[in-house]
């Protein structure tokens, strides 16, 4: 299966660039191919995470790190797991065993585009497309929010602060190219003259 050619949503209608911007200001990277996203839904979803990872974020919006894996509680009955693509099958198998029939487990990687927006101006770029308050304490590091970004649904995870500010953005695959263009447009003013 892995041999099949995977097409990133962010390459639609573009030259297929996987990144843009500069790290010293703001930078956008397509992580879709390397980062899988697992979706757990059901009343025991957070318990399943705790069973597999030893602990789980419990309040909606809370995020915790387990090595390279990010666990996000989105609703009392919905969780998201960001996991390196190479580990996704193994992690999904462990989760599936714990989930049994009480929780729906889906690898939704094909349905989402995942971007990392990083750099000191990352929050300012987001504030041009999203009404959330990205500063402390409204959205602290290691927190997630499901919100509207450039008028489309997005999951935003803050995974870094200060000079290492970094946001993971998961958007619907079909909106991927549009969101990429919107972010690139919002980044322009921070890249001018560089």
């Amino acid at each position: 299966m892995a041999a099949l050619p995977f097409v990133s949503p962010f390459s639609t209608g573009s030259d297929g660039a996987a990144s843009t911007g500069v790290a010293s200001a703001v930078r956008l990277d397509d992580l879709t191919a390397g980062l899988a996203l697992l979706h757990l839904q059901g009343r025991g979803a957070l318990d399943v995470l705790a069973e597999v990872f030893g602990d789980s974020p419990r309040t909606p919006g809370a995020v915790s790190e387990r090595g390279a894996v990010l666990l996000a509680a989105l609703r009392p009955d919905i969780a998201a797991v960001f996991v390196p693509a190479a580990e996704s099958e193994a992690v999904a198998a462990r989760l599936a065993a714990a989930a049994a029939s009480r929780v729906t487990l889906l690898d939704v990687s094909h349905g989402r585009g995942i971007i990392a927006l990083s750099g000191p101006h990352a929050a300012a770029v987001l504030s041009r497309l999203c009404g959330l308050d990205f500063r402390e304490p409204a959205l602290p590091n290691q927190h997630a929010a499901q919100t509207s970004l450039a008028k489309v649904r997005a999951l935003i995870v803050r995974a870094g602060e200060g000079a290492a500010a970094r946001y993971l953005l998961a958007v619907n695959r079909s909106h991927g190219a549009y969101v990429w263009a919107a972010l690139a447009g919002a980044m322009e003013e921070f890249l001018e003259g560089r």
Binding site: M1, A3, L4, P5, F6, V7, S8, P9, S11, T12, G13, H39, Q41, G42, S101, T104, L106, V108, S109, H110, G111, R112, S127, R128, L129, C130, G131, L132, D133, R135, A138, A150, K151, V152, N172, R173, S174, H175, G176, A177, Y178, A182, G185, A186, E189
Partner: protein
Amino acid sequence: MSAETRRATRRLAGSPSQVIDRSRPLTFTWQGRPYTAYEGDTIASALAAAGVETFSRSFKYHRRRGLLCVSGDCPNCLVRAGDEPNVRACRTRVEAGMDVRAQNAWPSLDTDVMSLTQLASRFLPPGFYYKTFTRPRALWPFYEGVLRRAAGLGAVDPDAAPARFDHKVYEHADVLVAGGGPAGMRAALAAAGAGARVLLLEEQDALGGHLRYSGGDVNGQPAHEAARALAAEVRAHPNVTVMLDTLVIGAYDHGWFGAVQGKRLLKVRATAAVVAAGAHEQPLVFANNDLPGIMLASGVARLLHLWGVLPGRRAVVVSANPRGLQLARDLLQAGCAVTVAEMRATPEAALVEALRAGRVELLTGATVLQASGSKRVESVTLTLPGGETRVIPCDLLVLATGYLPANGLLNHAGAKPVWNAALNEFVPAGLRAGMFAAGEINGTHALAPIEREGTLAGLQAARFAGYGGDATENEIARLSAEVAAAQAQRAPWTPAQTLAPEQKKDFVCFCEDVTQADVRMTIEEGYDSMELLKRYSTISMGPCQGKMCNMAAMRLCAHHNRLSIGETGTTTARPPTRPVSLGVLGGRLLEPVRYTPLHDWHRAHGAILMNAGQWQRPEHYGDPLAEVRAVRAAVGLIDVSTLGKLLLEGSQVPDLLERIYTNRWRRLARGRVRYGLMVNEEGVVMDDGVTARLDDDRYYLTATTGGAGAVYEWIEWWLQSGWQLDARVVDVTELYAAMNLAGPYAREVLAAVASDLDLRDETFPYLGVRRGTVAGAPATLMRIGFTGELSYEIHVPAGYGLHVWQALMDAGAQYGIRPFGVEAQRILRLEKGHIIVGQDTDGLTNPFEAGMAWVVKTDKLDFLGRRALLMSDEQGHSKRLVGFTITGGALPEEGNQIVRPGAGPTGLEIIGRITSVRYSPTLDRVIGLCWLPVEMAMPGRTFTVRARGELLSGEVVATPFYDPEEVRLRG
């Protein structure tokens, strides 16, 4: 005149308060001629420095207008800069190469033909056009053309390159401070000191407010230096964010504020707000009060102290407060000859002494009766105590004659200003919780009380936002007492009388050229309240939005109605506080677009794309009829990734399906697919689609492209709020690419790339679902047929969609496969008589009327909409959706009306409409679906269609039009 001489005419020597950089000159053009400015100049300051006095022509009488307020409030300096009309010259930095032109003047600013209208002003009272141009009615188009050419300010050049506006930006703060003068800065420091995150927005390009240009000293320090010191303290505070050139334009519910910074709109959310927006200085009303050279004191002070421009050599200063006297002193020091007409009987002794020491003539108790001059003010007639008048030659008349609080933001949020007869000003009252006012907006004009009010408001706002403790509370209590005591001691800075006796050309409203006589006549005609006066005379409806005229209009309205100003009241303040271009409100265009995983293939293969909601879908690939023929005769492939797709899991999914669909689901076997129709509680058709049972507790539901989101939310809403079933729904629309392989050779093509699937009818029959691999990708396949042919709907992980599509196209090459688009699909489904929800149905359609009773099982226990459907069935139905064909082959359009002879101007009665119609290449005739009265909805009945003005003959035909026995579909 050379550019150099134009630059030098009125520029003073440099001083520390100035904001221009004389080492960086630049050149721009005004009316096509070159002018020199310095970096830091505005268009207005640069032109004023070069001796330009007429900046514009007035709206109605095309009178000359010069600088008045130099603060962005009045309409007098609106110009065209480059392609942009209605630019405020006093608020716009001049740029090298800028092409600045006057507007609203023809053939030139200096000689404007339309200025002749003032000779006929007695025939042009307010509302004259309502009365004059009403008869004869036939001439209205002519009148309209003339009026439209004469009306309006500025013009948009349709050939200009579109302006590029910035993204809207969201900002968040605990405390928003609107205004960066001394009150705002003190408020920001106090709130930040209590721990609040403060956002300070200032309209000007520097903090400091009037201290930057008011001259004089503050505690032994020049005022502008005191402003800079305070500004530095604000900027250094880690809790304060300062944004300059940013005007707060509106206050809305839930702590939202709108602000404009250049070409950018800010949407600010704040828990609390301090409005320290200051006050608008007010002109007096007297004859010829609009002549160039007549300026507000604050405008002169700005020119003098910020840009080093002396706008006149012989000034008369009419003063009603200490700032007027201070400015007179500053003008004197700048080399101007000054006469002061002091409206008060007892002005400040120290200032009077200083002026007299400079041999300035000071006339106490004086005011202005009229000004005279042709192209500019040349003299002023003063009225002295006792009624004596005196004419004084001058080239500058300065009005330091009181204030109108800039309380728009407070009023947007529900405050009701009340008249303070001691101050001759309105003061705020009834502020919304969490909003606080400080400084000149309160009628407080002396510096120390202004700063004290700022500190108090800042602390109150911080406390409201949850910061500070007992110490803050104690400080608030102490300051509140001090502020109250100080406010009780205030002397008025605004005179009780600002109107000279009614004369010609004594303008109350500079935007719309409304005079005292116009206001009187309007009131005499019965428009005697402020709101009516405003609407009839258009006073306060121009670019200044009442900032220059509202106070005078209220005084006149009160006078003519024999009421007090408090009884007369104000007009309603609405956002924005100042005109904002639509481009700023719109911001950068963000219009979501959705692409399927196969989008790039479609574009590379010549697809003509269409919008389907946000989706981009191939409408066709050049020849939709050929695409139809390919599906009927060979094989075709269509991208249906846009279909809504939901995964349902849980032991009670069958119960869920029974409740959301009108038909039965409990006996749906594993591996089987069933069509379902969804109606809402009113029994109105919502959506349709198929649902496949993949496993015991696992189902896969598809919805229409347009209904996908609504269906997901509908199911989720019922699951969460109503039923508590053991069923989970996950929207997997994005997870899968979907394609429909249809046509007589579909099986052969699929078999070539799906070797692990047994595709025979016996093992994979019509309405079956199977899991397998297609071109190596995991796939879910459903044998269904919207097209009426043998077809397989193939769902694969989206990232592999392009690979699978290409594999199918390659495998189908030998069978003549063609991609087909939405247009071919519409024809194919119409040949089968299938409806499209939302096209053939509307917000009132129930399944019985749509001919879908076969899918409604009212005898099952219950489902959403069952009760409504039972009731509507009992009441009977008046219309039916039926198939039809057109005699003679003419092709009507969707939406065309079905008519019969009847009453009315056309002699026709509308009895139905066409919802779908196409030429069918398979049947070689026009076919369609239409709504007809139920008594006509039987095969063979004829009817009349009104299409593009012609009457066509249609005939009801039974559906499906094609393959009614479903031989091709089922194999």
